[in-house]
Symmetry: C2
């Protein structure tokens, strides 16, 4: 069963109103914005990624979901599999730094032991103060699609990590230590029509926002903001792990944070691509999908 | 690093006040009681345990932590590893039944894919309405120690499951489908000095309550309530997975729910055992400890 099929079946379960139909990355309860993400060794991080970087990424990916709601982080729960004392200690040192730098604190959690040889599976749940909290479903016909920062850096950083770490350290850091756009999210949340973070890839996440909003989206690959040293916008826009903010707002409006307009919403459905105005075929894979690759 | 060493290091991280020093199974935030538990295939459940029973147990073990606080369940988050479509579907059917029967709803979660051959690791986080919420640290010198239900049923049920399922179906059900003592917890919470659920074993959990409270505990093995067909109180009291409520209250007091007095708190520290009044040696292992076995 792939993720979409599983989600469809999950929606048939008894849902709390705070789940909002499981349409978003966060839930709302008691004035809190709540999100949870699981990272799997060999899927979301590499076995030889440094333990402090894994701790950073686990916290940062969750806080990125809070950022997309404009929520202020309060605290986190950690579900941790004990295995190797040195790795565990390095992970905790890294988590300490990450909690301090990203401004949140530990609330609790659970520790388990793993059978020999099992990959590490780490879960973190983050709580934020409720906020204006734009959903991903508010994009309107005529809205522009914007994205913060640059796209594809982490995808290139992953390739560098897989090749032994020889490459631009800034791109490697973008893969291993993404910085959630908390301040930008708080500035944007009261103002935009829709917002989400880019975790699985710019194109797949743009298509998801359009689908949730009941509109079509055209992304111009020529407009995708790329870091120095990255040249192929299609690879960048399908790589994922960016943790930038993707948001919809009226086309004439200028965002209060640094961001790039990459697309336009229109009546209809689905994702179309252009490159500097010319139509471009849609690639078979738009980004990362669990259960598909 | 074992669980105790890891917990000691966790306590050195920046903690939220709602973590209460990580001394308990729940956290408090925004009027909510929050708990999270991870179940690992091959550690907390068997590979051939039916998927609906695993779903039940995942929910029930979390709600048992809420029961020990007298909290009313509101909703849950699920972190689920996709692998086998038939197992996934059976799990969701079981979760549907469990959510209905145990009176709670889905708030959200995350799905991931696992590398081939990896054991399933399932995490659930449960939210309850805040309650009088007795801690595990309030037991006083002279208090009696009480426990609901019978002890050791699930341990015997595990042996039945490991032997192919031939045995008393009531004991097997106590292992696979524990029922959290939610009503009992709500009745007891405003009245008792300390309360926790018995998850790792009566003796180890009684020792933990005594240690957290700064007092000594003597448990009388002859008083441990046993189900029909179970005869060895020491095996029963170290088996774990009971999900009964263990609570401390003044010796002269009678609880408003069915429960059995199994011990008495005194000045000092540590756990002592008697059997019908005679001193009994302490076994080397008091219950389940992650990282030790």
């Amino acid at each position: 069963m792939n993720e979409a099929a599983f989600l469809a079946r999950l929606r048939a379960l008894p849902l709390h109103p705070g789940a909002a139909g499981l349409g978003d990355d966060t839930a709302a309860l008691a004035g809190l914005t709540i999100t949870t993400d699981t990272l799997v060794e060999g899927v979301h991080f590499l076995s030889d990624d440094p333990a402090p970087d894994v701790a950073w990424k686990l916290l940062a990916t969750n806080l990125s979901d809070l950022a997309a709601k404009g929520a202020l982080p309060i605290g986190v729960l950690l579900n941790y599999p004990l295995r190797d004392a040195a790795w565990d200690a390095a992970f905790l040192d890294g988590l300490h730094v990450a909690l301090d730098r990203l401004g949140t604190r530990l609330l609790g959690g659970d520790t388990v032991t793993l059978p020999a040889g099992a990959p590490r599976i780490l879960t973190l749940t983050a709580f934020g103060h409720d906020a204006p909290a734009p959903s991903r479903s508010g994009a309107c016909v005529g809205d522009a699609l914007w994205v913060t920062g640059t796209i594809g850096d982490a995808g290139e950083g992953l390739r560098i990590a897989q090749a032994g770490g020889n490459g631009d350290p800034r791109l490697l850091a973008r893969y291993r230590r993404p910085v959630p756009r908390l301040a930008e999210g708080r500035a944007l949340a009261p103002l935009v029509h829709a917002m989400m973070d880019v975790s699985d890839g710019l194109l797949i996440d743009a298509e998801r926002m359009a689908a949730a909003s009941g509109v079509a989206i055209t992304v111009d690959l020529g407009a995708v903001p790329l870091a120095a040293g990255i040249s192929d916008p299609l690879t960048a826009a399908t790589a994922g792990d960016d943790y930038e903010l993707l948001f919809a707002a009226p086309a004439a409006w200028k965002p209060p944070v640094a961001a790039t307009q990459v697309g336009i919403f229109a009546a209809g459905d689905g994702l179309s691509l252009t490159h500097d105005g010319r139509s471009v075929p849609r690639p078979p894979i738009l980004g990362y999908q669990h259960g598909l690759r």
